[in-house]
């Protein structure tokens, strides 16, 4: 499984009323060595979220007592900025917008692949860890300047198109983590639909080629059936 750098000790709150879904989430996150607490209602979830110092919250959109949207709204109103992954059976585009507007940080529709759910949680964790975003990232001589939006290898500038830069940036920021095609599409292009198998693949292939031509070792790995992972896995 993906290398986890600073998330071993992370604690996650799962607010979910459906037992089987909750079990699935808890099992997957526990497998990733997170500490996991579960709340079955919005009220209980809110109480836990206010007291405990969680790193990420997964929040069901439809809860029996308080609506998921109100839960995030409440948290944000109390200046609690724990990243929230909204999980909902409503996949409507408007629903996503609404969830994000209410203060959610990411949105996942049911049914979901648990590895994708875990990947999204990790991205949220990573974001929290890098709260003070570094302006430079460096992996094995490959460096990106997040202010100038430029990349270089061993001091030589790489000629990247804007989207290629965005892609590399997203991969490097989340190095060591599996990123699904959908997540890449959402973050780099900002659209939320299934981009199809090939579309992201050709972009990755293009980026790989450019890195390779500059003499960079292969750092973008394919995770069969899942997505891509940046980092040296040898």
């Amino acid at each position: 499984m993906s290398a986890m750098i600073d998330s071993q000790s992370a604690s996650i709150l799962v607010i979910e009323d459906d037992d089987s879904t909750a079990e699935e989430i808890v099992a997957e996150l526990t497998a990733h060595a997170f500490r996991v607490d579960r709340a079955g209602t919005g009220r209980a979830g809110l109480m836990l979220a206010l007291r405990g110092n969680y790193d990420v919250i997964t929040l069901d959109r439809m809860l029996p007592d308080i609506d998921g949207l109100s839960v995030v709204g409440d948290l944000r109103a109390r200046r609690i900025h724990t990243p929230v992954l909204m999980i909902s059976a409503l996949s409507d585009v408007d629903e996503r917008v609404r969830g994000l507007r209410a203060g959610g940080d990411d949105y996942l529709t049911k049914p979901f692949a648990s590895d994708e759910m875990a990947a999204r949680v990790e991205v949220l964790l990573r974001r929290r860890a890098h709260a003070a975003e570094p302006t430079r990232l460096r992996v094995q001589g490959l460096q990106i300047d997040r202010v100038a939006h430029s990349a270089s290898f061993d001091g030589h500038d790489l000629e990247l198109k804007p989207t290629e830069y965005q892609l590399l940036d997203f991969l490097m920021r989340n190095s060591g983590q599996t990123l699904t095609r959908t997540m890449i599409f959402e973050h780099v292009w900002g659209y939320h639909f299934d981009p199809g198998t090939n579309l992201i693949e050709v972009h990755i292939a293009g980026l790989r080629k450019k890195l390779e031509q500059a003499g960079c070792p292969p750092l973008i790995n394919t995770v069969r059936g899942s997505g891509y992972l940046f980092g040296d896995v040898r």
Binding site: D94, V202, A205, R224
Partner: protein, 457 residues
């Protein structure tokens, strides 16, 4: 317009009745005329017979006097009298000669005569009667029937006038009664065309006057209600199946994935599992696409819809699809003819054009071209995606919008036949238009008119 009116039964009937009525009037007038003429002729003939009878009993000298007296007495100058010698020489009276064709048998008949005084008219049509007197002279008595002629003329005039009025009223009445029917039929025609185009929410309009049409329209509407309900049921059922199957499929995928992950890298089963994973993903993708289409189709809220500049959207799209095109050896270009904006959900529009691009690139063989064009006016923007591929034959251009439909020669390219259905759903949601036709490049051209051309739905 007239041809259309003529198709309406009520119009034809009204005009037909008008015509028949006019004919009856003409017939009636003819009968009146005929009867009047007969009666008058009988009257005149009786007078003539009496006169001849009186004259023939008079002596020769008396006769001339009697005739002169009669002529003087006849202030209306409708009587004619003549006494002629056996050789036809006029001896007395006001006739110039023995009328031609007069048979001297004492029976009245219609004849033209000529008068010998200088009164007007000189020649005229009369009833005349002639006989040979005992002394061999010929007596002719005639009487003008001008009155009859006058009656005939006024009857004729009246007859034509009334017939014309009746006919006119018939046509006007027909138009008056039939115009609403014509309009109603036009409305029905329009609605029926939309229904035939697949818009099952349309209903045939009901008129105010035409009971028979309304009864039919109501029956058809009831049928449409039922069809729509059934179609909705089938769709809901398939959507529900797609939706319900997604959860177990996702679980299935999760366990395959976990097994694959926990497996030794060198295990021989790894390939088989990878294959299983790919297939499951394919299935999931299809179910997701199906749910998404039905979600968009049933979407009533339009929160994401706002004025959107199309040029940046298309630039991002071409950039997104360019590597894919390059890999397929296809040249992808963007042509900006104008830079309008459209009122739309930018994200959905992106997805729709993305699907069109995906098809164009997928079906165009290496060495071909795909061109995205943004044109039209600010009020009526048009986005088109054209390619140099095989195109779609005209008879299939409607079917390809249906779910799962793929042309036979598309079997070898990957895909599920849901792409264009999604595009169609998005186009409908916005009330936009989508036309598939021939591209100047030789393949398919998909033209999306991005302004509201009909009520969304």
């Amino acid at each position: 317009m007239f041809a259309e009116l003529w198709r309406i039964t009520s119009f034809r009937l009204t005009v037909l009745y008008g015509g028949l009525f006019a004919l009856a009037v003409v017939g009636l007038f003819a009968l009146i005329y005929w009867q009047t003429a007969r009666y008058q002729n009988q009257q005149v003939d009786q007078i003539l017979l009496n006169q001849v009878h009186v004259f023939s009993t008079a002596t020769a000298d008396q006769l001339d006097d009697d005739i002169a007296y009669e002529i003087a007495r006849d202030i209306r100058r409708i009587g004619f009298f003549g006494v002629f010698a056996a050789d036809g020489k006029a001896l007395a009276g006001n006739l110039a000669r023995i009328p031609q064709g007069l048979i001297l048998n004492g029976k009245p008949r219609a004849l033209p005569v000529e008068r010998n005084d200088d009164l007007f008219p000189q020649a005229l049509e009369v009833r005349a009667l002639g006989r040979t007197l005992d002394d061999g002279r010929v007596l002719v008595v005639a009487r003008d029937v001008a009155l009859l002629e006058q009656i005939r003329q006024s009857l004729l005039r009246g007859c034509f006038l009334i017939a014309a009025v009746i006919l006119l009223l018939g046509v006007l009445g027909g138009v008056f009664y039939s115009l609403p029917a014509v309009r109603h039929i036009r409305d029905i025609d329009r609605a029926a065309r939309r229904i035939a185009d697949g818009d099952y929410s349309q209903r045939l309009p009901l008129g105010r006057r035409n009971r028979e049409l309304d009864v039919l329209a109501q029956i058809v509407n009831a049928m449409l209600d039922e069809t729509e309900r059934l179609m909705g049921e089938v769709k809901t059922a398939s959507d529900n199946i797609a939706h319900d199957l997604r959860t177990p499929l996702t679980r299935l995928r999760a366990s395959i994935y976990r097994t694959q992950q926990s497996m030794d890298k060198t295990s021989l089963h790894r390939d088989a599992l990878n294959h299983a994973l790919t297939q499951t993903d394919l299935l999931l993708t299809r179910f997701r696409a199906l749910s998404r289409i039905s979600e968009i189709e049933s979407k009533r809220r339009r929160a994401g819809i706002s004025p959107t500049f199309l040029e940046p959207v298309l630039r991002t799209l071409t950039e997104l699809y360019e590597p894919l095109a390059n890999r397929g050896g296809v040249k992808l270009s963007l042509r900006i003819e104008s830079s309008p904006s459209a009122v739309c959900d930018g994200e959905l529009l992106f997805e729709a054009i993305g699907n069109l691009l995906d098809n164009a690139i997928k079906f165009t063989p290496a060495g071909g071209v795909v061109c995205v064009t943004l044109g039209g006016t600010q009020a009526e923007p048009v986005i088109s995606v054209s390619d140099s591929g095989p195109g779609i034959p005209p008879d299939l251009r409607k079917s390809v919008l249906h779910r799962f439909f793929r042309a036979d020669d598309a079997r070898n390219t990957p895909g599920s036949g849901l792409g264009l259905s999604l595009v169609d759903a998005i186009v409908r949601l916005h009330g936009f238009g989508l036309v598939l036709d021939d591209a100047p490049e030789g393949g398919l051209r998909a033209r999306m008119s991005c302004w509201q051309r009909r009520m969304p739905g």
